[in-house]
């Protein structure tokens, strides 16, 4: 049957200098997958390569060379001698491998717990494997399970629910104040990196317009182009402030550029339509006392960091729930895999002795003269019922223990005493039997 092996490295086991040398860029993945499949102990393979991790997942024959062949492949493909590489690599087999990939795809193993990109990257990896035909029935089923586990984790826990970056936290707050952002206007003052990032998030959240202002007007024009916004001269800021629902500020000014009384005046002109000030400058640009005005909310960088910290703590609490889901799903996948192994064993067993039976029946009939259809019928029914009675006990035992712990050993024993070949071909018959088995559960 074979078992699942994963070797890989991530941001915790290897520094970026190593990770970048071992990455598989998209254009080399086809080549890499073909190379991987040439290894004789490997049957199916998927390669996941992101900036934080490289993982090779493969289905190997039941022997001990899978891991070493995968490591050899990694070393040869990137031209790095194995001893230099080995210290950075981890490997998992069987249930541990299943557990590992479930955690990776659910973003429980990510640098930023719960970050959403990893699932897409795993899906890409699966896509490449499909494209280059390095994936077969078992890994296909495995990855389907990986995606469903990740989805379950995302919907049943809040591990990815709240923002853990300053810029996202700002957008999340804006949504809690304004609800729909599509009829809101933002104003970007200055050109701090985090502010620009937050502005970008606001644009993708669909704000109606964005005004950009800077002490150097050229810079404002350039940034405005980037956001498809309107550049504003810095000295005209007070005139335009009333049009802004969301104000993002990070200038290098040494004093407040927006005072409390400025905001009081603007909010009166706006007839109390709410304003949200996000002050990312240090020293601050906006008088924090403006937060006392009704319908005005002022957040500085520390406030946002506090929000993130609370969110991170929540993610960590939620991660515990997610781990339980993963453990549960590993068990469920294990049951599927085991059932998978019982069925082909039964098929091989039956097929082997049907063949023996047919040969023996033909022999017996020819010894008995053979012309009489009745003779043939009697001999055949004798052989069939004998065979069924003999095989009934082992097959019943296999099926009975389909969920049990000793099942792998039982399968191995049955294979040994009946001298069955290692790897049975799947047949239509086998698949029908397999679905029957599945529906009985």
């Amino acid at each position: 049957m074979g078992h699942i092996i994963i070797i890989g490295l991530n941001h915790r086991t290897a520094p970026v200098e190593i990770r970048e040398r071992l990455a598989f860029p998209a254009e080399t993945i086809g080549h890499a997958l073909r190379g991987l499949m040439e290894k004789e102990s490997l049957k199916e393979g998927v390669i996941l390569s992101t900036c934080n991790r490289v993982e090779i997942c493969a289905l190997a024959h039941q022997n001990f060379r899978g891991v070493s062949e995968m490591k050899d492949f990694m070393s040869a493909f990137h031209g790095i001698p194995l001893p230099e590489l080995d210290g950075y690599l981890y490997h998992y087999e069987g249930d541990e491998a299943v557990h590992h990939l479930f955690r990776v795809a659910s973003s429980l193993d990510s640098m930023v717990l719960g970050e959403p990109q990893i699932l897409g990257q795993v899906k890409d990896a699966y896509g490449y494997a499909g494209e280059f035909r390095s994936i077969g029935t078992i890994l296909d089923k495995f990855f389907a399970k990986v995606f469903s586990v990740a989805k379950r984790v995302r919907t049943e826990t809040k591990v990815a629910s709240s923002a853990v970056s300053v810029s996202y936290a700002a957008v999340e707050l804006a949504r809690k104040i304004f609800g729909d952002l599509t009829d809101k206007t933002a104003m970007l003052i200055g050109a701090g990196e985090m502010c620009e990032l937050a502005a970008r998030h606001l644009v993708s959240a669909g704000v109606k317009g964005i005004m950009v202002t800077n002490r150097t007007f050229e810079r404002a024009v350039k940034l405005a182009e980037e956001f498809r916004g309107t550049p504003i001269r810095f000295d005209e800021l007070p005139v335009h402030l009333k049009r802004a629902d969301i104000v993002l500020s990070s200038t290098g000014a040494s004093h407040f550029i927006i005072q409390k009384q400025d905001v009081e005046e603007v909010i009166r002109i706006r007839r109390n339509r709410p304003m949200f000030f996000i002050d990312m400058a240090v020293p601050r640009d906006i008088d924090p006392d403006a937060n006392q005005i009704d319908n005005v909310y002022v957040y500085d960088i520390d406030d946002l960091n506090n929000v993130i910290e609370t969110n991170l703590e929540e993610r960590q609490r939620e991660a515990l729930k997610a781990e339980e889901i993963v453990t549960e799903e590993v068990r469920s996948f294990r049951r599927w895999l085991d059932g998978q192994q019982v069925t082909p064993t039964i098929i091989t067993l039956r097929r082997k002795y049907e063949e023996v039976k047919n040969i023996e029946v033909t022999k017996a009939v020819s010894v008995l003269g053979g012309e009489d259809p009745k003779t043939r019928k009697v001999v055949e029914s004798l052989a069939s019922s004998l065979l069924n009675k003999i095989l009934h006990a082992p097959i019943a035992a296999l099926k009975k223990d389909a969920d049990g712990r000793n099942q792998m050993e039982l399968v191995a024993t049955v294979r040994e005493i009946f001298d069955l070949p290692e790897s049975p071909e799947q047949t239509e018959n086998g698949e029908a039997d397999e679905t029957g088995q599945a529906s009985r559960k």
């Binding site: 609800g179 109390n272 319908n295």
Partner: protein
């Protein structure tokens, strides 16, 4: 038959309220869906009970405390369902569904027998006047719920302490919008309710306005909501101030309805407990 139907609705409103509370605590969607279903069943059963009582009494059954409270609960549940579907505000249920339940408890303990109609109430104005006012009051009850939610959520955003409430409650903007919508619907209903009452009073008592406590308190309520509406439209009152006024306004509504009935005798005392 109709009495047991009317009393059974208490159970449906209780189930609805509990499910909505379960929803806001666990954020399990099923709680909100089931809660809505129970409220809907409650409203249907309640309406059926109301119609049956109408049929057997021969007049619109809103003439004593049992009937009025029961009809008020029905109006709140019905109005809430409309608002919930319009704005998809499931968490509102955790605040408003309990109100429907609370107002349906008392009638469940009051005698529900049909007592015959006082002659002064025997008029076509009865259903018009009372239904306008109760539906208006129910709309204000929803505004009250949204107001409480607004204040809770605003405190979270203002104090920058994002707790469990922050995640669960909707945006400030939506809550303020509900406040405004309720005002623009509830206020005309209240106004027309008072006007029809005044016309009816001229027929029944020979005077449009006689400053009986119910009338006085209706006027106070009306002035409160008029001030809010005026402030919203002219000076742009909104947010916290509007939320607080919606809460105070609903206090006045309740006093006009219950406080006056139970504490202040007057021309309107058809619906005191003693009857």
């Amino acid at each position: 038959m109709h009495i047991s139907l009317l009393k059974a609705t208490t159970f449906f409103y209780l189930a609805g309220a509990l499910l909505y509370l379960y929803f806001i605590i666990t954020l399990n969607e099923r709680g909100a869906r089931l809660g809505r279903m129970f409220l809907l069943i409650g409203v249907i059963v309640h309406t059926a009970g109301f119609a049956l009582r109408y049929a057997s009494a021969g007049y619109t059954p809103v003439t004593n405390l049992f009937e009025s409270l029961s009809f008020f609960a029905l109006s709140i549940a019905g109005t809430f369902l409309v608002v919930e579907i319009r704005y998809n505000l499931r968490t509102l249920g955790s605040f408003v569904a309990p109100l429907a339940f609370i107002f349906s408890i008392f009638p469940a303990f009051l005698p529900g027998e049909i007592a015959g109609l006082a002659p002064a109430l025997n008029s076509y104005w009865l259903p018009v006047h009372v239904i306008l006012l109760f539906v208006g009051d129910a709309v204000f009850a929803v505004a009250f719920g949204a107001g409480v939610m607004y204040l809770l959520q605003e405190k979270q955003v203002k104090r920058k302490k994002m707790g469990a409430i922050f995640k669960r409650l909707p945006s400030l903007d939506v809550l303020d919008e509900v406040n405004y919508r309720c005002l623009t619907i509830g206020f005309p209903l209240l106004t027309m309710g008072i006007i029809t009452g005044s016309i009816w009073a001229e027929y029944a008592w020979g005077s449009y306005w006689s400053w009986d406590p119910k009338e006085t308190w209706s006027l106070i309520t009306w002035l409160l909501y008029a001030a809010l509406l005026h402030g919203r439209l002219t000076v742009g009152w909104r947010g916290r101030r509007a939320a607080i006024l919606a809460i105070v306004g609903f206090g006045a509504v309740l006093f006009t309805f219950l406080g006056v009935n139970l504490l202040l005798p007057g021309l309107h005392s058809y619906s005191s407990l003693s009857r």
